[in-house]
Symmetry: C3
Amino acid sequence: MAHGVATSRFQVKTEGREDVVDITDRVAEGVASAGVTDGLALVFALHTTVGLTIIECEPGLLEDFRDTWRRIVPREMEYRHNRIDDNGHSHIRASLLGPSLALPVSDGRIELGTWQRIVLLEFDPHPKTRHVVIKMIGECAGL
Amino acid sequence: MAHGVATSRFQVKTEGREDVVDITDRVAEGVASAGVTDGLALVFALHTTVGLTIIECEPGLLEDFRDTWRRIVPREMEYRHNRIDDNGHSHIRASLLGPSLALPVSDGRIELGTWQRIVLLEFDPHPKTRHVVIKMIGECAGL
Amino acid sequence: MAHGVATSRFQVKTEGREDVVDITDRVAEGVASAGVTDGLALVFALHTTVGLTIIECEPGLLEDFRDTWRRIVPREMEYRHNRIDDNGHSHIRASLLGPSLALPVSDGRIELGTWQRIVLLEFDPHPKTRHVVIKMIGECAGL
């Protein structure tokens, strides 16, 4: 076993408009494939209109979360960005939430609380294919 | 001295309802115990109704911060999640702020600005015991 | 090539009042100078009234982002912190957005999506000189 860096990538298809996609299993697979046993995993979405966070994936709660974004940063406001596109609200939400999420890895697995799930929020109005990179650092069985 | 990973854990008792707990000293102790001299420390709370951030611990400001959360994501709204629990607002706030905070470590200490303190925000209505993990990567005197 | 930690620092002069400074090139220079080829870069601002995030640097959108902060956390509210200073709103915004941003490094460069730029938001009302630290971990050509 040695110390090192490993990288994993995956794509997510979203349906647009506050779609919330549970990516926990995809991140877990990346960590398992890399053989990281102890360290960190950085999950990073390569886009300006999505965000990453942790939430309990209870369906009612996910709907509440969508409503919160619609209330705090409504689509139906004037955005200067909408002179060149239709997604000013999407960018603002994404920059508030952020595309970067760092997680602990222990005993070969992402360490999460009982109810914690990793989600990607699609803030763009339209369905998209999203690219996510996982960068892992630590002890790797495979190195 | 060698490069490696170290882990530290601690618990925090909170009083519920926007309690703000300064955990800077606990994180500093974890870094000191592990003997990390140069690298990163990831602080991660294993819960879906707390958040971590940096703030100046001036008592008036902490009260302002609590007020901001009550104003932006009020407890007194309808949340679908409240059909099965009483903390829809707590989950939403926690997912907005996030449970993950990465910090630089230099010269054997967490590197913070003069007024920066690490805080855990309890968004749940009720007192809780919270579990926090610190995952450190870098040069360790003890490895 | 070896595994290790590298640190870089730079300063940013801001104009106060929601000034948004694109620091992508500064971070990229830090990563290039350190010779990190694969790993993570943590960008951390050592202040309680600035925030870091990712956004597309389209001028209209940056103005929309400033407006959003003025709307969600207005300067013109009562803050207890303003009994001792004039920047209660600045602290609240900074604690909501956070001073910590972790990025993947691949092939010797920060890995970003096409439109992603790293920005520092100045929430203080007054022009300031800000100190930013970059802590990098991974494979370094220079170690």
